[in-house]
Amino acid sequence: MLAKLAKKCFPRSLWVYHCNSGACNGCDIEILNILTPYYDVERFGIKLVGSPRHADVMLLSGAVTRPTLPLVKKAWAAMPAPKLVFGIGSCATGGGCWFDTYNVTGGGATAVPVNYYIPGCPPRPEAIVYGVALALGLVDKKAAPVELKQVEFPIDMYERNKAWEERNVIYEVLNT
């Protein structure tokens, strides 16, 4: 019974640990902004704590560089379950513009399992608050993949090309 009550109280009181894995500090400043009175995120019950052992959510900013990769993993392992990770900014989402450089391992997903991504460079404080509200279930998701076509082709050219590249097979379309 206590476990059910604790689970219900989990989204009402998220404690946040901020982990910078080699960011330029733009996203860190925006994270600081959401704790200011203007965008006050403490009204959702969110508090900034200094120790990963007290935290429920790790706010990961920065493309995970090679020296910080084991440290981010250590900080994540130090958090007690249940835990979440939010990747803030384009660097944590996919490595930013440095995704294939020599010192970057390529974004938050290479170090820890990321639950929510908040793209932006840096994301507006409203965008981070929106991401937090999305995680809490207060708003609906607005991003969706977009597909635009100039002409509608009768044959599935994409699938055929993919089959040739990946499996070296010729993709046959049966004309019914």
Binding site: A6, C9, F10, S13, E42, R43, G50, R53, A81
Partner: protein
């Protein structure tokens, strides 16, 4: 009746302490011009912490013993205090020295837990907590001594209510001033919140605790704040005496709420002092409290 009062004490302290902490957080938020968490937020915090995993990071017995020890000591204090101006069944068998001992035992449990954490930040937090305890607990003891000197007995009823029972004397006024300043140190709010839970400067003594252990420590801190604020309201505000048990209970709880509002206002408008600056102020407080005790013994 006085046995029932023991359980009423424990229940009221357990259930109302997070509410007062929530009031303090809300007032701090409003002073900072922001909306702030709902007043019942600390209840959600405690419940969530109770549901988290327990990471036994130091793996020794002192680390595991400290949170239940602190919680047990503050529960004992809650059971003993004469809430509602009535010395209950347990309170009749102890005296003021036991009260000071139990409050200090809670602080020592925090120190034990912090030093057993094998973490540098916790060690620094523990050393500052030790300095604060050594300098500030004498003020509490001397408050009870003033009451005991004027009430002519070391029992709990005399020690707590004696300071204002036989009329307001000079010693009571001096002690009021000293205790009002020391109250900020007792409840660990700015400007004196250096050692405990100061997440912004250093991690404090609780850095390695997680889950239910941390919940016990937080609850311990909230109840400790309520005990000290109640002591101020009950000991120094004699016009809150109505004569009946329930009436006194309500007025004392209301007085505690007002004391918490004052603590929150002072706490949110002051910067945090360094430990060396704070020690100078504590030394001054001890001197003033000694003067008050001297005046009380002299009969003033």
């Amino acid at each position: 009746m006085s046995v029932v009062a023991v359980f009423v004490n424990v229940l009221l302290f357990l259930l109302l302490a997070p509410l007062f902490e929530g009031v303090m957080r809300k007032i701090t938020a409003r002073v900072q011009s922001r909306q702030g968490p709902p007043v019942v937020q600390p209840y959600f915090d405690l419940l969530k912490l109770l549901g988290k995993d327990r990471v036994d990071s130091a793996r020794n017995w002192a680390f595991r013993l400290a949170p239940p020890a602190a919680f047990a000591s503050i529960l004992a204090v809650a059971a003993l205090v004469p809430l509602g101006s009535k010395v209950n069944a347990l309170g009749a068998r102890v005296d003021a020295i036991t009260l000071v001992y139990l409050l200090t035992l809670g602080g020592v449990s925090v120190l034990l837990g912090a030093l057993a954490s094998r973490n540098t930040f916790a060690a620094i937090g523990a050393s500052r907590e030790m300095v604060t305890m050594v300098m500030v607990e004498p003020v509490l003891a001397m408050t009870l001594l003033v009451g005991a000197a004027r009430g002519h007995s070391l029992g709990l009823g005399a020690a707590v209510f004696g300071a204002s029972a036989a009329g307001y004397g000079l010693s009571t006024a001096v002690m009021l001033a000293a205790y009002a300043v020391a109250l900020q140190a007792f409840v660990a709010k700015q400007p004196f919140d250096i050692p405990e839970a100061e997440i912004e400067v250093l991690e404090g003594p609780f850095i390695e605790y997680s889950g239910p252990d941390y919940a016990l420590f937080r609850w311990y801190m909230m109840m400790k704040q309520m005990v000290y604020a109640w002591l101020f309201a009950a000991g120094f505000l004699p016009f809150l005496r109505t004569g009946s048990y329930v009436g006194d209970l309500l007025t004392q709880l209301l007085g505690t709420l007002l004391v918490f509002v004052a603590i929150a206002l002072v706490g949110s408008t002051n910067p945090r002092l360094r430990i060396d600056q704070a020690v100078k102020i504590y030394a001054g407080l001890i001197a003033v409290a000694l003067v008050a005790v001297g005046l009380a013994v002299a009969g003033l």
